[in-house]
Subunit: 344 residues, 2 copies
DNA sequence: CTGAAAGCGCTTACAG
DNA sequence: CTGAAAGCGCTTACAG
């Protein structure tokens, strides 16, 4: 392996002159020397050892992406939302000259160990699963961090999220506008007994839309389940079996919406003729299914880009112009919602 | 930040005694000292600085995952195949005590820089896009590497792939068994003018299956296209517009199969009644589409696991029991292929 | 069982 | 414009 020392020896200069050239401190070195050194660097394809650099420099140039270890769902990247988000984060991190280390972790001590181990410059938490742990995370780790979709009450944490309330509201509003009054809400309101704020917000939007139209809120129409395809299928079947007296479903994940459509189909019912379904996220599969899923879209690209930019701003400037970004959501009309009048 | 030095000072021992305790060289330290030191380590939640360690130890514990920068498709992780594969790799890397750095790169010098920058212990190349560059990659970088789906002719590189030939063969065989004799082959046989061996192998399987049934191979039934949803839609339309005289399509990617189904639908034709389609990969969306896509499945979990295990075996033992693993593929019968007799 | 010394490949003040 | 020295936080022989 070629080191600074080798380059310096061959150029007949000191190590730190080479270091200055590499770091672009060209004002400190004569043109002649610069050229000579650059030639040698090229000749050997020299690149600096960044583990050595991060030992002396204040910065490691490593950004950590933290994802939870899920018991039931051991490969989080199967989730198209996560993988799309991650892919963009990767791109933006690279374009800014940083390096990306990913790791799934199970608790705060895992997180702290990881961040300290590599002396990371910053970290992005992809999911809000750690919201109740943020206090201890912040206490143990003094580095720039961005939390996605967090509703943590802790002040001045940096977070990028979406307008979940509005998402719940416009989805429900849309169903009501199509004549529906008996609307099921299906999503993971709680996880391991603790509420998931993001989903609760969507639920609030749902409730307010009902209220506005003088539709009484009915607790029994809230189905608190983990959102996946299989659960969706079962739910779709249950609905068709009249276990719920509803004409429409708002579900907090496209994948579950796709499952509901399938479950209904398995029981001989057709969406949107017999049942309307609206999803959330606007992931690619929502276009593949028949009928194409009407859904609430969030701008994942923007979310990922802003998260990284915010983090890097904080890393490099020590402060951030705006520590709380809430992105807009919008309704994407497709084919899975029907007019209730057509139902009868 | 707490360092070895701090721990040593508080324990009243030398730095290297603490180092021995941390590294589990317990034979070299007295029980008393071990206990004392471990208590202090716990007290401060000390974890070693791995950038420092990797400077002295022969090992950095970093494994690189290399993905290509695609011009047209800037977020590779939108591809469910890549993201599922990646997620499993991440898990297995972590479970083995290594750390994962991902990066998209555009050429050999990018790759070499990355690997040298971090003094990586090993690297996994997720896609065979670099096959024609492997020689120069190997020349510039002397570290353990695993190439997925490579058909490089270079001996003794470590690779994990699937039986592409068989995949092409059984897919085509299945269509023939269902009475089809005019079968389109759609996939990216070439990229930027150079053949993609993986797809060529599937094409060979296709040809041999035809040959076996005395069906003449027809060059004009090979559609050499990038496999994505939009291309699939256009292809589906073209087929229904009689631009190709076929009754079935074998496509090398599920996503394109899903597009073909959609394209046919847009032109008023129904799969499998009017056209049969078979895909490749058995990704989740193949179940979401209507009709559910019949496809060739590969075991992504096994692929990812073997790739990491092989890499780590090589890193830790300096050699590998088997440097070329080819995984089996199988047909997954669903609903997108019909009997030709039913077509008329 | 314990430790002093050297060194990994860099950068950061500082002196000239 | 150039360089000698110290140090980042570890590990590796080696000596006792």
């Amino acid at each position: 392996m070629v080191t600074l020392k080798d380059i310096a020896a061959e150029a007949g200069v000191s190590i730190m002159t080479v270091s200055n050239v590499i770091n672009g401190n060209h004002s400190k070195v004569s043109k002649k020397t610069i050229e000579k050194i650059e030639k040698i660097i090229q000749k050997y394809n020299y690149v600096p050892n960044l583990t050595a650099r991060s030992l002396t420099a204040k910065s490691s140039k490593i950004i950590g992406v933290i994802v939870p270890i899920k018991g039931s769902f051991n490969n989080l990247f199967k989730d198209p939302y996560i993988s799309e988000l991650f892919g963009i984060i990767q791109n933006v991190v690279r374009e800014n000259g940083y390096y990306l280390m990913v790791r799934s972790v199970k608790d705060v001590s895992d997180i702290s160990a990881l961040l300290k181990n590599w002396n990371m410059d910053g970290a992005i938490f992809l999911m809000p699963d750690y919201d109740n742990l943020i206090y201890s995370i912040l206490k143990e780790n003094k580095l720039p961090m961005v939390f996605l979709d967090s509703y943590s009450k802790i002040d001045n944490i940096i977070s990028v999220g979406i307008n979940d309330y509005k998402g719940g509201y416009i989805a429900t509003r849309y169903l009501i506008n199509n004549g529906h009054r008996k609307i099921l809400f299906a999503g993971p309101c709680h996880k391991d007994g603790v509420p998931i704020p993001q989903i609760i917000k969507r639920l609030e939007g749902y409730k307010d839309a009902l209220l506005e139209s003088n539709i009484e809120f009915n607790e029994s129409l809230i189905v608190d389940v983990e959102p996946n395809y299989e659960v969706g299928i079962n739910l779709g079947r249950s609905i068709c079996n009249k276990e719920f007296d509803v004409t429409a479903v708002f579900t907090t994940a496209d994948i579950m919406g796709i499952g509901i459509i399938e479950g209904a189909k398995l029981n001989g019912k057709i969406v949107p003729n017999d049942l309307s379904v609206i999803g959330f996220d606007n992931l690619l599969p929502s276009v593949y299914v028949t009928p194409k899923l009407t859904t609430i879209s969030q701008d994942i690209e923007s979310k990922a880009t802003k998260a990284v930019n915010l983090l890097i701003e904080y890393i490099e400037k020590g402060s951030v112009s705006n520590n709380k970004i809430t992105l807009d959501v919008e309704l994407v009309e497709r084919q899975s919602v029907g007019q209730l009048s057509n139902l009868k």
